[in-house]
């Protein structure tokens, strides 16, 4: 043993080399791709946001004009408000549904858990456009299955598409259906990591299932809950394809969301500079959401 000590002092340089170069090599590919396809477009987008670039030809720097115009644009505020409303409806619904299903599926009394997991997860694998088409078949105002059933039962067709609020609710439900599987998987993994001994001790103390859920499960999975809320919030704020396929932002422009507004101004109207400014405002909003999440998460961890 004594003889080994000097050897150890000689070998570290080789080890350091091995353990410092390998990770760099492994990470380099991702760093290059991330830089090329994410960082560079983001930087270019930021530059465009200070220009009058139309997507074609030369452009001029216009300073903060795009941002000034944006904050005076009622359509932008309307889209932002609708986006926030959608997110506020979608995130809690998705959270409750996925947590509920996860709890049921980790129960020792549950049967057919594997099949159920696949059943709930499949919608998440579908393209949002496919989800939109499926839900349009269900909630199409004119020939959708739900209205057909309502009319067959003697009721009147419900304006699922031509009423702005109903139209939004259909999208919220469709999005929750599609995203519940993903959140459910995260919750299942988190719940399974809670030591069984906690529940055993709680049972001995006479705590029922509801008390155990409130006092053990919820606090134990708090970090995962925050991740789920954050991911769903970011997803909600960026939603577009589901609206495009379900109601095209309608009726009229009532359900135009922020990303649709960015797409239309940028790619349809050729105002790339203006749309880039709107993109950056959206990114700043998302960053604020992320920072708040991190602060809350840290506080919960420190308790």
């Amino acid at each position: 043993m004594k003889n080994r000590a000097p050897d150890m002092s000689v070998s570290p340089p080789r080890r350091r080399s091995k353990y410092t170069v390998a990770p760099l090599v492994l990470v380099a590919g991702n760093v290059v791709l991330f830089g090329l396809f994410f960082v560079w477009p983001a930087v270019i987008g930021l530059v465009y946001s200070f220009t009058n670039y139309t997507g074609i030809g030369a452009f001029q720097f216009v300073g903060l004009d795009n941002y000034q115009n944006l904050f005076g644009d009622s359509i932008f505020y309307s889209a932002l408000t609708r986006t926030l409303l959608y997110t506020v409806l979608f995130v809690p619904l998705n959270f409750v549904l996925s947590l509920l299903i996860a709890n049921v599926l980790v129960s020792k009394h549950a049967k057919g858990v594997s099949v159920a997991r696949v059943f709930f997860f499949i919608p998440w694998l579908l393209s949002p456009i496919v989800v939109g088409v499926l839900w349009r078949w269900l909630f199409g105002e004119n020939f959708g299955l739900v209205n057909e059933v309502i009319e067959k039962l003697g009721g009147s067709a419900v304006p699922w598409q031509s009423n702005a609020d109903l139209s939004l609710i259909v999208v919220v439900v469709a999005a929750s259906w599609a995203w519940t599987g993903f959140s459910m998987l995260l919750f299942i993994a988190a719940i399974k990591n809670v030591p069984v001994s906690y529940y055993e001790a709680a049972s001995l103390d006479g705590a029922g299932p509801w008390r155990q859920f409130i006092s053990i499960t919820l606090p134990s999975i708090a970090p995962t809950s925050f991740i789920v809320i954050l991911l769903n919030t970011i997803h909600g704020m960026k939603e577009y394809p589901l609206f495009a396929s379900l109601n095209n932002g309608g009726p009229g422009t009532s359900n135009n969301l922020l990303v649709q507004y960015i797409y239309q101004t940028g790619f349809k109207s050729g105002q790339i500079g203006y749309a880039s400014a709107a993109s950056f405002v959206l990114m700043l909003i998302l960053m604020v959401v992320a920072i708040i999440q991190m602060m809350v998460n840290r506080r919960v961890e420190n308790r």
Binding site: P12, F37, F38, V39, P41, A42, I44, G45, G55, I56, G140, E141, N142, F143, P159, Q161, S162, A164, S167, P223, F226, I227, L230, L231, I234, M237, K238, N247, N248, G249, G250, P251, G252, T253, S254, V259, I262, Q264, F267, K268, S269, G270, S276, S279, F280, L282, M283, L286, M287, V289, A290, Q293, M294, N297, R298, E301
Partner: protein
Amino acid sequence: MTNVGARRSRRLGRGGIRRLVPLAAVATAGALLLSACGSDSGSGGTSKSLTFWISTVPGQDAGWKKMVAQYKKEAGVDVKLVNVPYDGYDAKLRSAAQANSLPDVASVPKIDPIWANKLIDLGSIANNKSNKINGNFVAKDSSGKVLAIPSDVTASGMFINKSLFEKAGVDYPTSPDKTWTWTEFIKAADEVREKTNAKYSLTFDQSPSRLRAMVYEMGGKYVQADDSGKFSVDAATKKAVNTFVGWNDDKTMPKSVWTSGADPSAMFQSGDVVAYWSGVWQVAAYAESITKFEWASVPTPAQPVQASDVNSGGMTVGFNNNGDAAAAAEKFLSWLYEPAHYQALCEASGFLPVESGLNPKYPFKSEAAQAAFKLYNESIPLYDPVSGYFNTAQTSWALKGKTLTEDPTKVELGKAINGQQSADKALENIVAGYNQQLGGGS
């Protein structure tokens, strides 16, 4: 060393990764929003291979497929046909022009100033007297260079559910010489709906072209520019647009088509809608797809103007990618517009020909489809000249470096039907959109 490693590991384990995830997610979100769509086009062919972009509905690509296969057999040139979705086709062509990767040949909906200067002169084809190409639809620049030749001619048209009309015992005109007015048509369609318990009297494509056609027929000019290049609408247009908005009452017409993008064609094909205002290109598809009821094309209404919105179904262009490919593209198009080949294209694709003197024998088994083509071929010569205004104007705008990137008609009228604004306000906004994009000296 070990301690440091453990400390790092613990830090990550206690929330480091969780802290990184949000930041990475946000960075990804922002970057994704700003990433432009890429172009995967292959182009810049040689004399032995060409790339040909089209954008068409199923059924109408049959002719193109047939012709490129025949050309491969006859000339040994491999023409790669790429069918691009219509939504975004303009944008894809623009991206390709910017990336210098335009196809060699394309069937385009309109000339775009972005790539207009890259077109090869098709004068030798258009001016070839044996081709008998209708010069009214050929796009030329001020020097007489032929930029594009239509692949076909299209027009808005009315489809009816013949079974429902017969069930209700309501008559409809069959000859363009004895057509009906919109008022008579709506009255008849409402009567059919009421007698047969159909859901709607009419579905109407969410399309500026279809609206233009209806406005023309009601005596309006829709949005046109005066000599100074300023756009406006006339009183007849206002009246027609107000009438159109009023029809969207969820009885005569479903609101959801113009307000939230419901599919009018699917509604008509369900068999529960009396009539459908669309275009001649639907005929090829309906010849096969509608089997649960009998349908028919009926003469377009005249109130009092007999008109439609007549367009080039597609404008065939060649791009000057390189010497070899440009020569090969022109040779291919020259071959394509030889009357025998062009007739074969029209027959297989169900095109109304831009060349006169042809007698296409469409391969439809459907009698309705055959009758529809006969009707359209009889109708088009009767249409008022206003019917071709927009088609000609588009080329004129493009040659002045302007383009109607986004026709505000759909959005503004969608808002009007949804009650967000009046029809008159919608027209004001549409005019403003035209003036913003095209106004001033056009």
